[in-house]
Point group: C2
Chain length 698, copies 2
């Protein structure tokens, strides 16, 4: 698969189909870019009306293009695309970038055109990037099939984007800043090659140190997780996801014709595949820059060397917000600093050398701090003053921090005076940021990645033997309805080994009393009706009933109550259950995501889910550890783990039930949603018990 | 007071004391700046060793400086300061800016020097800015007493900073960007003139449209709130506070010698004085820029006009995160847009005109959207392409958005190509940002300010008559100890009209049984010991005791329990209370902040405060409304207000108790901390009851 993508970056020859001799046209810009950035292969403009464009010999059609050629860049109107693909197939070209728009993003006609193209591509083994894209750049081969003005510097960031405009903006933004890229890829509509294919490709490319991407929608979420969790063990994958809010998701779908899906599913998928998610465009490049240029932090203890206290205080606040700490400098280091620096300087961390700090003070102080075993990371801050040349400070930073194993970042606050020192620092692998708050977010991202990378492989989940036939039969007899009745939900859960409270159905009051007596008091009574989903809201649940007479009374009262509140509800009878012993109540749920499959949910029961929105998510398939991480990510998880000396609850039992519920969801795609609410969780070692559940079919 | 600060910005003449003819010295830079930015008053260098500096006649001492002169800028070493102030007093100069460092920030000697200076200043009616500061600029009078290279553009932002370095960095950062300033003030150590004085001054200055500041520590918090809440009703006050975390606070205090205080107190004070708090340096100027140039948003419905979908989706996500919405464009507007734009363009909001959008399309689309009544705010996004000149788009934006009443912001994503359009837009009062996420944070801040500005004046709290004498006497007899005993805490609270559960003290088991019988069962028993603060942890509380024998048993068991756990505790007996009826349990507390005075706290009782950190704060004095806002700011507040059809609790009763507790704290400064935990709150109209309380003296 990966070999089939090579021609998009390092082709033997490129044909530009629809090349124009008019400098105002995009295709002219593409030819210019192909010529000027060092690409050494052949370039063939295709246009029946021209002989020579930009000094390149023109060809009337694809068939007449000579060897070598293995990439076609298409700039013709959309409706020509199928024929162009057929021609490419005939000419033996297996990689086609379709720059042109006018496809899925403009409506049904365009969507049909895409389908036609895909069939041709599949029949002929052609890979397509686009349509509706800006093209690709490989900063190492020098290939540039885009019409963007300018290129970024060469480096280790492999960038892909589902928005072409973002590509153009990013080049304008990073140009000349020494932020180094290896690849620049506009994905367009992803008719064939997807973001996942491209991440896999960049994962294998030796020039790529970090993969950074802007994504709007991932169509095959399950494959994304499968592929990316492997890539991210080798190199960081940093993604910015648009369409996190409802408004953003609407904006995305009106713009690309894709469905963004729920952000909870994306977040869970990112966490489970080791993706470092960022929240803004600036953060994307701030973080990618550091991954490209610096080693991962070995710990959280950070030293700040500064010529001004204010920015150091802001940096300290930001470090704290990302769970980093100010390192306690050793006595030895402080003595060294005292000997080097102005007597008024502050030698505790942040080391404030005051406004007059000179280049040799920066250099010596940094050297002292870098050698301190208590220091894991070094942050240098400079606020330019009229007394010092920022370029000299940049060299001081390099003298102390270049090529050593501690993570070194720098801040130079300003605009006019930072351009030159930034070039010096970036050319020597020290990231430089403008604002004192930025390095903390960057270190935070690096540290999250380090945790992921160092995590031992999860034990694979081996599904136990389920009574699949029973579940299948019970689900089958409910497929006329949108939800599974209470009486069938429980045995379905039980068929998958989920402990469910014992209950027996009674169609009359006297039958209920007999069952209760046999079962033992106290009991719980619940109304059974296919028309009622929320029983407690309808007066359909009675707890703690302790003798046969009360069972009788409760039966008639409940039926009356429900009939008054929902006169049309068909009441079948009641369910009698033994009162469960005390424990914590939690909710576990499943909702099928269109892209990522079963999305599992965990939260505290009762009013607190609503009040505190304290829920965690994970997507299935997952490991037991990932489910445990979902639980631990909530406050409820802390509570169950035994906060403040309380007895710990049986969290392992919850994990087991989530795993089984996820298997049930994967085995039966007709299940759209499922919920166990409440799940009563007993003390550690004593299990958990589903007190109620529901299953919604789709 | 305000008149006394005028010479710092618009003096008749300035003497620079310690002026040097050496271009490498700061004082030389100050003279250069005084000469070159249009200041029309007299400039007098003072230096006994020079005749002329920079073409200005030099004077040997302050006494010999001729009229007019009403500002002295001092650049001599710190130890000269007292004599200089005496000389200034003799010469009749009442405004002195001390640039020199070497004062409080370097230790005790410097602190003593400051105290000496303050005495001289107060005796002679001299106002001092600094020491250890960078000076002041007034962009309208042209005065510039700083040694910073360059000045920002002229505009409406009055900026003050407790960090001099930040001043220098900000000038470097904003220079040439069209971000307009009226004043630029480095506060230094605030020996005399404080941030509060300066905010009051800027509040009165007609050129100031918005006050922006960087603060590290506010020494007189009570006065800050009193002054700023008035200023902020006239113009926005936007502050960035450093030292929010423990690490940041340590950094601040090592740097300035001030105590930063708790950030909870700052946040409460900011909320109660209408300060718009921002979190980063960039946000400070992003927000100030918009306040200077644009009207406040009339609503939350925002239209986005863009040439690219990706950035519009990111902007939408960010708007959503700040509770703004994408406006539903009217049918009429959509028809207009359809007529104007490319047929593939998206005419629903975000209006995506696609990559080829030309200047006239921007202009016409913006005009259509500005006229739509459904639209409150307009955000224009441009990602530069090779097809269009961003300067032309800037003019299109102006043609549609300049000088109209809807809030108009713009984004041009890039770097190289944005400098020119930014100048055009800023010169015409349309703020321009680089990243698509920024405008949402800006609109959010503007909207918060609008809410503050439109809020009707709170009803003043008129303290009821308290039994102050009783409280005074009871507190007095506890002043040998660090906390007030339980038996005295309750009557103190009662003396301030706080309902406290009735309790009677029993020193023996039989006495306890007799009291319980008289009171009526069920009762609660609590151990009474001056040595035990957390009774329940020690087994010192028994609930729901329902007969005399159980009282006897409980008495002996409790005493035994406590003695086993704390053998040295002196046990006086038990307190017998009637079991209170059911209700919600909350905590209210008070902690005296060194800067802001009594800091009141409200939170849900039980384990949830710890688990969810769901607490609100407010500082006293406050109005009842502010206390209500504190309660409403928590999730517990939502719960008490009657979430999901539950009965609402008596929130008014909580407010009343907080007000009374705050009065108690203000009347008795020896009270360091106070807590009612739990306060049991009954249904609306049924009050609340303190079940337990404690008072810590300091």
């Amino acid at each position: 698969m990966i070999e089939s993508l090579r021609p998009f970056f390092n082709p033997l020859g490129v044909a530009v189909i629809g090349a124009s001799s008019n400098p105002a046209k995009l295709s002219y810009g593409i030819l210019e870019n192909l010529k000027q950035y060092g690409y050494s292969g052949e370039i063939y403009p295709v246009n029946p009306k021209s002989d020579v464009i930009l000094g390149l010999q023109c060809f009337p059609d694809i068939r007449s293009v000579p060897d070598p050629v293995d990439l076609a860049v298409v700039v013709l109107p959309a409706n020509f695309a199928p024929q162009v693909l057929r021609d490419c197939a005939q000419r033996g070209i297996k990689a086609v970038t379709i720059i042109s728009g006018g496809f899925k993003e403009v409506g049904d006609e365009g969507r049909a055109l895409e389908e036609e193209c895909l069939i041709i591509a599949r029949e002929n083994g052609i890979r397509i990037i686009g349509p509706n894209c800006v093209g690709t750049m490989d900063l190492y081969s020098g290939l540039n099939t885009t019409f963007i003005r300018g290129v970024p510097d060469k480096g280790g960031i492999g960038f892909l984007s589902q928005s072409g405009a973002i590509c153009g903006g990013v080049v304008d933004y990073v140009k000349g800043k020494g932020v180094g890229f290896s690849h620049f890829i506009s994905m367009g509509n992803e008719l064939d090659v997807t973001e996942t294919d491209m991440i896999a490709y960049l994962g294998e490319d030796e020039h790529v140190k970090v993969i950074a991407g802007y994504v709007e929608a991932i169509e095959d979420g399950q494959r994304f997780v499968e592929v990316v969790k492997e890539v991210s063990k080798k190199k960081p994958v940093v993604l910015l996801k648009a369409g996190r809010s409802q408004a953003g998701a609407r904006a995305v779908s009106s713009h690309t014709g894709s469905i963004a899906g729920s952000h909870a599913a994306y977040q869970a998928a990112f966490a489970q595949s080791g993706v470092i998610e960022v929240n803004t465009v600036s953060e994307l490049f701030d973080v990618a820059l550091a991954f490209d240029k610096q080693p991962l932090p070995v710990g959280k203890n950070t030293a700040i060397i500064t010529n001004s206290g204010g920015p150091a205080a802001l940096a300290s606040d930001a470090l704290s917000a990302h769970s980093f700490e100010l390192a306690d400098l050793s006595i030895e280091t402080k003595e060294k600093l005292r000997a080097i620096l102005n007597p008024s300087a502050q030698v505790a961390n942040p080391v404030d050398m005051l406004g007059g700090a000179e280049p040799h003070e920066y250099e010596n102080a940094l050297k002292a701090v870098v050698q301190d075993d208590n220091v894991d990371n070094v942050l240098t801050i400079l606020v330019p003053t009229s007394l010092v040349d920022p370029r000299e400070i940049a060299h001081s930073i390099l003298a102390a921090c270049k090529n050593q194993p501690k993570t070194s970042l720098s801040v130079i606050f300003g605009e006019e005076s930072i351009a030159e020192p930034r070039k010096i620092l970036h050319a020597n692998n020290i990231p430089m940021y403008v604002f004192p708050e930025t390095p903390a977010a960057v270190l935070g991202a690096m540290s999250r990645y380090k945790d992921w990378k160092n995590k031992p492989a999860d034990e694979p989940w081996i599904a136990p033997a389920y009574q699949r036939e029973i579940a299948s039969q019970l689900l089958g007899r409910n497929n006329h309805s949108s939800s599974v009745g209470e009486a069938d939900t429980r045995p379905i859960l039980k068929a998958y080994g989920i402990p469910v409270i014992e209950g027996e159905f009674a169609s009359s009051g006297s039958m209920a009393a007999t069952i209760a007596e046999k079962m033992g008091f106290p009991v719980v009574m619940k109304i059974v009706s296919p028309d009622i989903l929320h029983k407690s809201d309808m007066g359909g649940i009675r707890l703690n009933i302790s003798d046969p007479e009360s069972v009788l009374t409760a039966f008639y009262e409940m039926v009356e109550d429900v009939q008054r509140k929902m006169p049309k509800a068909h009441i079948e009878g009641v369910l009698i259950e033994r009162m469960a012993t005390k424990g914590s109540e939690v909710i576990i749920g499943m909702k099928r995501d269109p892209s990522f499959g079963p999305l599992m949910m965990f939260g505290l029961g009762g009013i607190y889910v609503e009040l505190f929105k304290d829920v965690g998510f994970c997507i299935s398939p997952s490991s037991r550890d990932q489910v445990l991480e979902m639980i631990d990510s909530t406050r409820a998880g802390q509570l169950l783990a035994g906060l403040r000396g309380q007895t710990a609850a049986d969290v392992d039992a919850i994990v087991e039930i989530v795993m089984r519920m996820a298997d049930l969801a994967r085995d039966f795609p007709q299940i759209q949603e499922m919920e166990i609410n409440p799940l009563r969780v007993f003390d550690q070692g004593h299990g958990a018990l589903a007190l109620d559940g529901r299953i919604i079919l789709g």
